[in-house]
């Protein structure tokens, strides 16, 4: 872990050099200064030097998180406003092992670079310039965050974005758990967490990282990737199934090969049968037998054409060929008629589905009107005949809400049925079109045969021509079957590939072993801090009922803790959460920086009880003796400061009216009194 040793903001102005510095000790540090002193300037300087300004929702390298006093113009006591010529801030960090690090980043000036000064344990100093934001984690040599993670001894951790791209954890993802700024930090747990990077479950991952549960993060990321892969595989399955169905239907085979349902079910279904197997079982299509039959036919026709004797008295060849043409034309006519009927059915069913959609929409709108009471008429008496002008007098009815709801349900059922009909008609259309294409092909061949046979002179030549045409037709049929087999085998290969991928996905291990103890450490620390800070919903009796869910959201007895207690408990919850994370991380030696910054916790609730509870916390051993650094920026009354100091709490009260002061030309800069 590390601690902050010094925060400095300095610069040059028209009026001369200016500077503000704050020196911090280990453990609990309460910085007390009145409002508009510049405490938040010091708080922002920490985030700026670490290059985590995206947590404030501002663009990279844009120092708009700072007040104009360090960017444009500042006022010194008793002087005219002075223009800021240049400004920068720096933080000094000390590692537990004795290494020092100073980070300096310009505020007005070139703020893309951070000047880094490393001091090793042996006193050796190394200076470098690193990029604050650009490729900050990826750039091995120039990225600031890459350097900081290495300097801290933290591992880089891959995560996944919602788009399925690879990303990693950045310092700005972790900071919202230990850096609570005045403007937004107190609105929720990890309120400053970055959402626009699109990292999945980043708030949970940040907590797990700070608790050192890297195995758990890997498992979480694997689960996310599995889920995305699962969705991809399901989509691929639907696509393959659609192609298989199209190929089957085109050839007139009505066989079910569905790509719907959960991945495991599709996997089980597709693994149990092959495409060829399902065709043989459900459509009686045995390619082996078909090929054998066609080969035999080709052989017989070839033999008849080349070596077998020809009966000269046989004059039936032209009639046979002609008969085939007639049969095929009849088939084509029948199929065309069927196709026209199906097209009409398709058009009408589509219209009906559309009409049902309209009816459902209208009925749903009517139901909405009825529930809101719009368009309802009161009973009125006819001024002349004094009869009640009730709708029933005019043979009109007003349906009840229940009746309209039933009607909507009935319409939905009808629509679903019509959609099924539409699907069935679609399938029939594909089958019929496929059959028609085959008949067209056969007919063209038969017509060519007829032309050849009728042109032949003599019965012998007629028979030879017929046999030759039949042989050609049989060979083409054989080719068509081979094409079908090839196409189905290609689809089978895709199915097999899919099965391999889906099986591999099913075997991914998603469990983590490093989480339970870390969660427990965090939970027990959270209980301690909530009790110490005086969260009103928590009592010694129910403290054991406090739990954290999968998203690390605290729950008490089944209720989200945020919704319990009083409004002022919100800031106590957020402070407890951040402090408990640091305490747990220290206990289990995880990846927390060891610094918790709480900016203006007392301003969140002006009530006296909140102030009293917080001051009581600051004097407790839990706060004072913490093994990490807690820096609280606030304003305390003189009595409170005296009392806290008497109880051993370190309270820093910087001198002067403002944090930034002109640097005296002869003596050193203004210091801070502790």
């Amino acid at each position: 872990m590390i601690r902050l040793e010094r925060i400095v903001v300095r610069g040059q102005s028209d009026a001369g050099p200016f500077e503000g510095a704050l020196t911090l000790a280990p453990g609990l540090q309460v910085v007390s200064a009145r409002n508009s002193y510049g405490k938040s300037l010091a708080v922002k300087a920490v985030a700026w030097c670490l290059g985590i300004e995206p947590i404030f929702g501002i663009p990279d390298n844009e120092p708009t998180c700072f007040p104009p006093a360090v960017r444009e113009e500042l006022e010194f006591a008793g002087r005219q406003p002075a223009r800021v010529l240049s400004s920068e801030c720096s933080i000094s960090l000390i590692h537990d092992d004795g290494r020092h690090l100073i980070l300096v980043r310009a505020i007005r000036g070139d703020c893309k670079m951070v000047r880094v000064e490393e001091r090793a344990i042996d006193g050796q100093v190394r200076r470098s310039k690193l990029l604050a934001r650009r490729e900050t984690m990826q750039d091995e040599h120039g990225g600031l965050q890459r350097f900081l993670f290495e300097w801290l001894g933290w591992p880089r951790q891959a995560v996944t974005t919602f788009r399925g791209n690879a990303a990693e954890i950045y310092l700005e993802n972790l900071a919202p758990a230990f850096y609570i700024d005045q403007e937004e930090g107190w609105t929720d747990i990890q309120a400053l967490q970055i959402g626009r990077y699109g990292q999945q479950q980043i708030a949970e991952i940040a907590v797990e990282y700070l608790l050192g549960a890297t195995e758990a993060i890997k498992a979480r990321v694997a689960r996310q990737q599995t889920s995305q892969r699962n969705a991809y595989l399901r989509e691929t399955a639907r696509d393959i199934a659609e192609r298989v169905s199209r190929v089957f239907l085109r050839r007139g085979w009505r066989v079910e090969w569905s790509g719907n349902g959960p991945l495991s079910e599709i996997l089980a279904r597709w693994s149990s049968r092959t495409l060829r197997g399902i065709l043989a079982d459900d459509a009686n299509v045995d390619f082996g037998a078909i090929k054998a039959l066609l080969n035999e036919r080709v052989e017989n026709l070839r033999r008849a054409l080349t070596s077998e004797p020809i009966d000269e008295s046989n004059a039936t060849a032209p009639a046979g060929v002609s008969q085939r043409v007639v049969q095929l034309k009849q088939s084509r006519h029948t199929l065309n008629s069927e196709l026209n009927t199906l097209r009409t059915q398709h058009e009408e069913t589509s219209e009906l589905v559309e009409s049902l959609e309209h009816r459902i929409q209208s009925a749903s709108d009517l139901l909405r009107l009825k529930t809101t009471g719009v368009g309802r008429l009161d009973h009125v008496e006819c001024p002349t005949c004094h009869r009640d002008l009730d709708p029933s007098t005019f043979a009109l009815t007003q349906q009840s809400e229940a009746s309209v709801s039933s009607h909507i349900e009935a319409l939905k059922r009808d629509r679903d049925m019509m959609r099924q009909n539409l699907e069935s008609i679609d399938a029939s259309l594909t089958t019929t079109r496929g059959a028609l294409a085959n008949v067209d092909l056969d007919l063209r061949e038969a017509e060519r045969s007829l032309l050849t046979v009728t042109a032949a002179v003599g019965t012998v030549r007629e028979q030879i021509a017929q046999t030759a045409a039949n042989l050609t037709a049989a060979e083409r049929e054989s080719d068509r079957v081979a094409e079908s087999v090839e196409e189905i085998d290609e689809l089978q290969q895709q199915v097999n590939g899919w099965i391999t991928e889906a099986s591999a996905l099913a075997q991914i291990r998603l469990d983590a072993t490093d989480l339970a103890a870390r969660r427990l450490a965090f939970l027990s620390a959270l209980r301690r801090y909530l009790a110490a800070l005086g969260h009103s919903a928590l009592s010694p009796e129910n403290a054991a009922l406090l739990e954290i869910d999968e998203q690390y959201v605290p729950y008490l007895n089944g209720h989200r803790l945020r919704s319990l207690g009083s409004a002022s408990d919100q800031s106590r919850l957020i402070a407890s959460y951040s402090l408990a994370l640091a305490a747990a991380s220290k206990q289990i030696r995880a990846f927390h920086p060891g610094i918790v910054i709480l900016d203006e916790p007392l301003q969140q609730n002006p009530d006296a009880l909140h102030r009293q509870l917080f001051l009581a916390f600051l004097s407790q051993e839990l706060a004072r003796e913490a093994k990490f650094q807690t820096i609280i920026f606030t304003w305390l009354a003189d009595d409170d400061i005296t009392r806290l100091r008497q109880q051993g709490t370190s309270v820093i009260t910087p001198e002067g009216d403002h944090f930034l002061q002109l640097v005296p030309t002869e003596s050193g800069p203004n210091g801070a009194k502790q």
Partner: protein
Amino acid sequence: MDKIANPLQAIGELLAGRAQPVVTPDRLAPSAIYDLQYRMAVTASAFEMHAKPHGLNQRRIHAARLKLLQFVACRPRLLAVLRNWSQAQHDAQLSIATSQRLRRGFLGDQMHEDVVAFLVARGILAWSGSHVATGPGSDWLTQLHSATVEQGVFAIERDVLEKLRDVRITNAMLEGW
């Protein structure tokens, strides 16, 4: 497709034994198209969108036109039919053929007359010869139309009524209704 040798005999056999009627009470819910509130809302929109100023502070619409507008608004698929019919006005034969699908249900739509009679009795609408005009309580009709627009309900019906502005509905088409 298998052909049935004797269709009448096949139907007779089905009705005799195998095709027992099944009554599902929840499917017998009357269509919302016969609900007064629905028809008043559509009539209000049709009137508000198509009625023309008349006299000092009245608006009116031909009764048959109003009936046709609300009828098509409730059945959006008839919009194309009406459009074809309108375009076929120059050809009497074609005109009769294209209007057949529309006439079939339209002539039997007694409910619209009942709704108009009800609104007239309530003083919301008033008869003005062959026209339906605004009555003393016509504000209610305007409010109902505005409420449907505000709540975004019956958008399909209003869309059809909007498109009907571009369809020329001649007196010849309205005669005989």
